[in-house]
Symmetry: C2
Subunit: 186 residues, 2 copies
């Protein structure tokens, strides 16, 4: 693997309420220089939670308005991990706020990046099982619609136009594999 | 499904060489008002290409420096679709630039979003088969390392720390399913 480029300077070039854009000057190990832009990450990342029911086939997704695409999107509940907060505790809090359930079992499946060339943000994909009814006050502008979906119908689900978010589709594949591995063990 | 919120105003609040941040004022159908921020999309999105060899098991990934995470990341080749360009032609161009192959067969598997609440950007996941050696001049600061990986070793691959990009991991799962469906047909 190549040696890491040397970063000479990082500058804030623009910022808003929730975004900060940085410029990086760097020199690659072959002497080539570049200036890259990236979104700076705030905090310690986010969680995406897959609530899996006791039939080990039904997952609870939500239908939520998304300002980036200006439409309702089918996706898994997500949220930010607060400073100093355990990520599984954050996952359970978001689950209560957005889906009306808590989970007795929470397991980190994978920590992913979205677009590592342009942002450092990390999302922790968490599987939630042994669910129980529980609610917490969120900051949603309207009640979220909870949509039960079946892992055994993954192909049909992926073909749906309202399911576009790559992280949620990846989480469906990972949990389908997790369920299959569990079936093989038992 | 709820009625779409009404968008009253969109404002540019910050911009840089490659990013533009917008604010949206909107009213949900229940009367609740919100101001959201998002990254505005430029162009018609991107392509992510999965080059699959004739053994229907080996895919070619690349190891590339990523400024967002400040390290080398294992991922599939990606690039922007230029205005007016067919997305499969864009996919083949990026494949030649980054992997040194062209493809006689290109198939769009799914158009995904990254984070639809905060950005509208779309990535088209394209499967490339029937490869042949071909190169095109890219704008990479250093030669990219091409890394053959096996779909049959997906679990081990996902466990590798240098593979973090959600889109690439999703593409691995989708192509593994594509290969299995092809085997069932034949």
């Amino acid at each position: 693997m190549s040696n890491l480029p040397t970063i000479h300077e990082k500058r804030l070039v623009a910022s808003s309420r929730i975004f900060r854009i940085e410029e990086l000057d760097l020199t690659f190990s072959n002497g080539v220089t570049r200036t890259y832009e990236r979104l700076a990450s705030r905090g310690i990342g986010g969680v995406l939670i897959v609530p899996l029911l006791a039939d080990y086939d039904t997952v609870l997704m939500i239908r939520e308005y998304s300002a980036g695409t200006e439409r309702y999107e089918l996706a898994f509940p997500k949220g930010a991990v607060e400073m100093g907060e355990d990520l599984l505790i954050a996952a359970n809090r978001e689950l209560m706020e957005e889906v009306g359930h808590g989970a007795r079992q929470l397991e980190l499946l994978k920590r992913i990046t979205l677009s590592p060339g342009y942002m450092g943000h990390k999302t922790n994909i968490v599987l939630a099982t042994e669910l129980y009814p529980a609610t917490a006050e969120g900051d949603e502008p309207e009640p979220l619609e909870v949509v039960p979906c079946k892992l055994s119908e993954l192909d049909e689900l992926i073909a749906r136009d309202e399911l576009s978010e790559g992280r949620s589709i990846l989480a469906l594949f990972m949990v389908r594999d997790w369920v299959r591995a569990r079936q093989l063990r038992s």
